[in-house]
Subunit: 381 residues, 3 copies
């Protein structure tokens, strides 16, 4: 019994099977099949391996972004000069990857909770019947008291609201803070590729404190400088600064980390791209359902024991820092999977050639006989 | 020498190898093997290609979300009517993809930095010894002064804190801002599939400014309208509005972009799904470790040169807009990989059939002789 | 005609092709080839299936994070004791996954919009000519009025700005809020794997309200407790608390959900990892271009009808909760793809052995004759 197993084992180990082949000496079939096989080989090597880098595994990064704006704005309303610093014009203040830079605003000062007439236009009325007491209108500012009151030359519904109500029918033009064009944005971004255990920062080799204190990002001259002028960002996104500053808009800054870790890690550097979000800035925007960007923001205070607030309708440039990452490194699994799959496709080439050989050639019967051996001869044709 | 290479090359190009096969004429084996092969073929075509769309490559999108709430709330505490507009009840104000809508609150007005007794309950004391001077308690509001003071009928530790300390032992019921049910949320979302170079907005073809000004999202009647009633969102997430408004809760709005770019890009439309976050709203929530959602928020002011603040414990509905995306498009690489892998599986079918043929059939010795040729005849059995 | 098709079909179904093989009885070739084949088999089973779990499909989760800080800080400037609670030291207040805990600050109280001298240093001047009227300096605080004014023993440019301007040349050391070390952070995180339809929360089985009210996260003793001491977080990230508290810094808390849904879903539990962001805390940080973390924040108020503000330059610990997820579950597609690809690699092994057999062995001509059959005999060598 033991010797039987040993025999079987030695048989297994000292034997080797290889398929028997017919070597078809036919120019036409030969050329066609060799070309198909060469094509498959070229595809596997050229496309899968070299172009698509099928021998590498890929990983995306977890990333962290910190931003900091710098610069001072200046506005001069009638008799009222004021400057705006970073604590005034950035929302939220703590340096998130998504934030808004105020460029225009409608200010309504000294609002307090009381009763006052609504804005003329949608809220006009002729008698108290038009103003349902206790009701709300979708575009209204408060709860209707049920009274129709005089406002200048017209009549509107009275509301319980923060009074006086904000009049946002006219957006300041030119925008209040055109000086925002000269603000600068500093982006600090670090990415970690967990699969490869690599951490990179956008302050790469050579981008030190001294360089940062002087540089300004330029797509050609200083592509790695992480300091951006707001006016440049807007221009590179395809917007006109005055337009976007007036009604607001949203811009995405894509930090693109496409890295090949088969080469030196120091070659892994970020690329910065800029594009408008929510609609194509190069088309005419009139057809779009919703352009502009704004939100309301209130500062509360107490005056003579009365709670008051200053309401700001802020128009601004919303900036989203979007980190896109794709790292590649040689890995044995995708390499062998690509090879194995390639050998499979090679098999398809053989099947195609066999079809030609056995069904299309004039001498097909001859080739059939060469290729096949039949277990019973009586049904052989 | 040259002619030798030419000969070898011409040999290579004009020759073509094809494996020699045994054609086994056996009904049982034939049917079994053909069925296995047909099964593999059906699997490859039906499952890999048609069901799983193995001929397409996939991509996920980078996305950008902007939100805007509309609506006015109304509360009426004793002798104090007030309305709440968007600047009062949305945190943060700038339209992020994750925000909180206040629905209930505990207000503590006129806090200033001084010494006052703690809340009764956990901070009760009988003598100064119970209150370690300079110490902090985990649930305390400030630094203990080391004195035990009288508070109504009981005694509690005195603390240096924002006084009076907030008493949040009783949550207002019904919630203060039940009117939040009628607020509307507008979602603006754009997605970019970098691999396919396609950008889409949730304001798809046909969703123009006029439609938006009137529509309200409904899963059946208006599935593409990007305006949502807060009450509907809560209901579609499986919550009861009054419960969630009272203690707060978190809701995820999933914007699902599942697109097939082999058809017209205009078919790529978002789907909106709603579900509760942090725990299953359909189960009894009592067993869960932590329900509700709240945070504290302070408004600072100066009264008679003394710094004071109004502290709000805000209960609210936190809404997270989650963009999920998966686009597919025909690509030659996954197609050929699937085919190659399929051919490989075909090979497995052949191996299985061979095992049957060579080891299970009665005539196995005969088939073995047909299939194999031995290089040395002396060990041939 | 009909019978012809029936015949062809019955032929097809009752026949079965299997390749004819040569069984090479050669010890050297046999052993080499069997070892290669066994290697391939071991690779496919051991590496692809067991190590890389190639029989499973993978999915990443959509996740939602809510955070809540607890604890009271205490500062004592000259004659001014005060405590800081959560509404004072967390930015933003609403419990986002990315937030800042203030640990140090430079406070500038009572700023109002007026004219005052700039900071000495970069803004020194000797005459009015050094101060360009209406101009801004990159590091300046406002708009220059064109006047050079006396400031103590030196002269600086006068600016229109929030006055007095902030003097941030000296960072308080030791940091104002060293007590921040004892603050606690509560993390609530839920993940949904859409492909597998599984939702998990970090409040897993056994982590109930009672446990949470007492526990404190410890990597070994309480790895599932979602309550973290800020001092522990800083230490586990490799930072020194006093350093990071003084100048600020950024820490990533990675919640790692690596789950295998072929086992009980209850085994799917989060792991918490901590690491410093933006630069390696274990290296000497001096060479880094940008360390520290700070932002400016203003509280506005009205005093005697004059708009004033308190400016805070906040140094703090920014915490980013990063959810990393990878779930696996058995799936037929990747299983069959792996098998198919493995069979393909098996074919490569055969090709390698054939090359040895036909080109390297002394008896290669004999084997060639065994393996190949020629369609025309006249060019047979």
């Amino acid at each position: 019994m033991k010797s039987q197993i040993t025999n079987a084992l030695s048989d297994f180990f000292f034997e080797y099977e290889t398929p028997r082949q017919v070597l078809v000496r036919n120019r036409r079939v030969g050329v066609v099949c060799r070309l198909i096989q060469l094509g498959v080989l070229a595809y596997i090597i050229g496309w899968v391996f070299i172009y698509e880098k099928g021998y590498q595994s890929t990983d995306t990064a977890v990333s962290s972004v910190f931003t900091k704006m710098k610069g001072v704005g200046y506005t001069s309303e009638i008799g009222k000069e004021r400057v705006w610093d970073v604590a005034d014009y950035v929302f939220p203040p703590q340096g998130d990857s998504s934030f808004v830079v105020m460029t225009n605003y409608i200010i309504t000062e000294g609002q307090n909770m009381s009763k006052c007439p609504e804005l003329p236009g949608k809220h006009n009325c002729t008698s108290n019947k038009d103003c349902e007491g206790g009701g709300f209108k979708r575009t209204g500012h408060g709860q209707m008291t049920g009274v129709c009151v005089k406002l200048n030359t017209t009549q509107t519904c009275e509301v319980l609201a923060w009074c006086p109500v904000e009049d946002d029918r006219k957006i300041p033009d030119p925008p209040m803070l055109m000086s925002a064009e000269n603000y600068t944005l500093f982006i600090k971004n670090s990415v970690t590729f967990p699969l490869f255990g690599v951490t990179r920062s956008n302050l790469v080799e050579g981008i030190d404190a001294e360089y940062i204190s002087k540089c300004l990002h330029d797509p050609e001259k200083a592509p790695l400088c992480p300091i951006f002028k707001l006016g440049d960002i807007v221009k590179l996104s395809g917007f006109n600064f005055e337009t976007i500053a007036k009604v607001g808009g949203a811009i995405g800054i894509v930090v693109d980390w496409t890295c090949n870790f088969d080469t030196d890690v120091r070659n892994c550097k970020p690329k910065y791209n800029f594009h408008g979000l929510y609609g194509n800035p190069t088309e005419t925007d009139k057809a779009r359902a919703s352009v502009g960007y704004n939100f309301r923001y209130a500062k509360h205070y107490l005056e003579d024991t009365i709670q008051k607030r200053t309401l700001l309708k802020v128009f601004g440039i919303r900036i989203d820092i979007i980190v896109q990452s794709l790292a590649r490194k040689f890995d044995i699994i995708p390499t062998l999977t690509a090879i194995g799959s390639g050998v499979g496709i090679f098999g398809v080439a053989t099947v195609v050639c066999d079809l030609v050989l056995l069904y299309l050639l004039p001498k097909r019967e001859f080739y059939k006989n060469m290729k096949f051996k039949y277990t019973d001869t009586h049904i052989q044709k």
